[in-house]
Symmetry: C2
Subunit: 347 residues, 2 copies
DNA sequence: TTTTTTTGTTTAATCGATTAAACTTATATT
DNA sequence: AATATAAGTTTAATCGATTAAACAAAAAAA
């Protein structure tokens, strides 16, 4: 009944040879180790017959390689990360790697715990979506010589491999797109964060205004705290839409901000895009299905995920591999939520 | 620079004792093994000093326990599964377990591959969202005595632990809700599948009609193939809305079906709920943000996930634990998409 | 025929942690 | 003083696979 695990030893004794031979044969080293032709065949047969499955733990203990990579993200229940995770999983599997995913909730402390759990589990390397204040983690990994690739976010002052989006450019494009559509009082809602990717999103937006001779008003930039997103997004929108400078367009710097913002905009019965035009980072079904489909900045998820795996595996194969950094372009997908004002010139 | 791994042996030699003592002390067995008080203290100190982290592989190889569980789902990029995964991850972590997630894409073959990869990685047990035609997997796990719990879906003819939703009841509720709202020609779009959970969703709907003396028309039940969902949902809706029996309400049996359906309904410029009322299984931001918020059957995600982990861990602790099966209730969240017809009695 | 080379196979150490059993001392009992 | 018990520590086997090194037997070269 209880078909227990088959080990090399079982095969060896059944074939009447030592475990060494079995190991050689089953690892395709019969040539180098000149195993007898007959006996090799027999071993293979028995292995198949008993449905032998090698014990990864033993293999890993010996080799020091687990063929496992740790993927640290903010939250697997966020569609952006869920999609990335899926790509990473598939890509890793192609090379025989298994992925262990952990959610940090954007908290450095959780991320640190995760990192340590996974290090103890002997993952071969990491793909990390960093959270704020986690520079020390990076230093630690470097010191310990643990291979890793930063994904989606990076620290400009740290020398690391990374695969990310050109957020400055994306945000700049969003700004220009709205300006070209005739919008004149464009605001942005971002997270209050020191993270570079967030700063870049704000900077791109501001540069777009500046390049088009728009005077940026402080009231147009709202930075909300992740921990209190729902309330603060509401306040932000209230403030942006109530003064005499009230905005006619908002850029949401993340998917989560957009969801909260749109809900509140619905509550306020503001019409998109007539009362308020919208452009958002992220991508999800909800942007398609909103009554007025939402213009968004589509990040190359697939490519981001694939490339990060590729970089990491290259590094695992050859630890002396040079540093690799890539910024990819997001694509602005124009929809009705940022439709050009009819009274304005369109480009 | 390259701070290499600290092992028991390193501590032992630094303390001038054997590894046995170190192991005893670090596992809190100094009492049973009557380790000297002095030496115990010294060992602990050195361990802390060197920041000793035990090697999980070695531990696992010896103990046969990896403290890892495999979570097999259809697709991590589907929000339903992503949310479940998050709950499972958090719950498992509380007990020191790590989760490895794999996506099967509803394909038995992929699920089988996954299962085997994870078995080779020596996971202690599985939480599985089954796909069609995977009964044999269940038999295999039982034969091999590998602990597992089925989540969200189960096979009524197989004796297994499971944690799932009462789909019959949920669907019945949806039907009754629409009937009470005055809808008279209610259709359902489901997957063409032998899976019990899907059958139950159809059955509940049909029973609701029957109990209210509605005559069920074949044209009101559409079963589409997962592989060709986009096209077939369109066809289904076309057929349901074009004949003389055309439906005035549709129940979508899954989130994915609803997304595709709503997109097409938008294309057709059908108004919800005036032209077509909607109730859907699943839950996601998009249901809130649709111009007419969608009535949905809210499954107790949190509880499903938690309970499945609980069941599995109980079984891991005590393999002779009796079989556990739970059906949980989904809750119908009524929104505008199924608003009662004004000309009809409301309940 | 003797020596060398080739071919085929086994032995044993290793990865790192655990733990039953063996082994010393020291202390208690008779 | 002789013996039993307790206290403290080490030895060595084990988990399963890998692989360098040792070994034995057969074939080739001298």
């Amino acid at each position: 009944m209880n078909a227990k695990k088959i080990s090399l030893k079982d095969i060896a004794s059944k074939a009447g040879v030592s475990t060494a031979l079995v190991s050689y044969v089953l690892n395709g080293k019969e040539k180098e180790s000149r195993v007898g032709h007959e006996i090799a065949k027999k071993i293979k047969e028995i292995a198949r017959e008993l449905n032998y499955q090698p014990n990864h733990l033993a293999k890993s203990l010996r080799s020091g390689k687990t063929h496992t990579i740790g993927l640290v993200i903010a939250d697997i229940s966020n569609p952006f990360f869920a999609n990335i995770a899926r790509v990473v999983e598939d890509e890793a599997k192609k090379s025989g790697y298994t992925v262990i995913i952990g959610s940090s909730d954007e908290k450095a402390e959780k991320a640190w715990d995760l990192l340590n759990v996974l290090i103890n589990r002997q993952v071969d390397g990491f793909i990390i979506v960093s959270s704020e204040h986690s520079e020390s983690h990076i230093h630690y990994l470097k010191e310990r010589n643990i291979p890793f690739v930063l994904l989606d976010r990076h620290f400009p002052d740290l020398q690391t491999d990374f695969v990310a989006t050109n957020n400055y450019k994306a945000s700049y494009d969003a700004g220009v797109h709205l300006i070209n559509g005739g919008y004149e009082r464009i605001g942005i809602i971002a997270y209050r964060s020191d993270m570079y990717h967030m700063q870049e999103r704000v900077r791109g937006y501001q540069q777009a205004l500046k390049d088009h001779k728009f005077v940026f008003k402080n009231n147009w930039l709202k930075e909300v705290r992740f921990e209190n997103i729902e309330q603060e997004v509401k306040t932000a929108i209230d403030e942006m839409t109530s003064t005499e400078d009230k905005v006619d367009a908002i850029i949401f710097a993340t998917y989560g901000l957009a969801i909260n913002g749109l809900k509140y905009i619905n509550e306020l019965k503001l019409r998109v895009p007539d009362d308020l035009a919208i452009v958002s980072f992220g991508q999800a079904e909800v942007f398609d299905l909103y009554y007025c489909p939402i213009t968004y900045l589509k990040q190359p998820l697939e490519l981001l995920g694939k490339t990060s795996v590729e970089f990491l595996l290259a590094k695992l194969k050859n630890p002396d591999e040079g540093m690799k950094q890539i910024l990819m372009e997001a694509k602005l997908i124009a929809r009705d939520s940022s439709m050009a004002k009819t009274s304005s010139p369109v480009t």
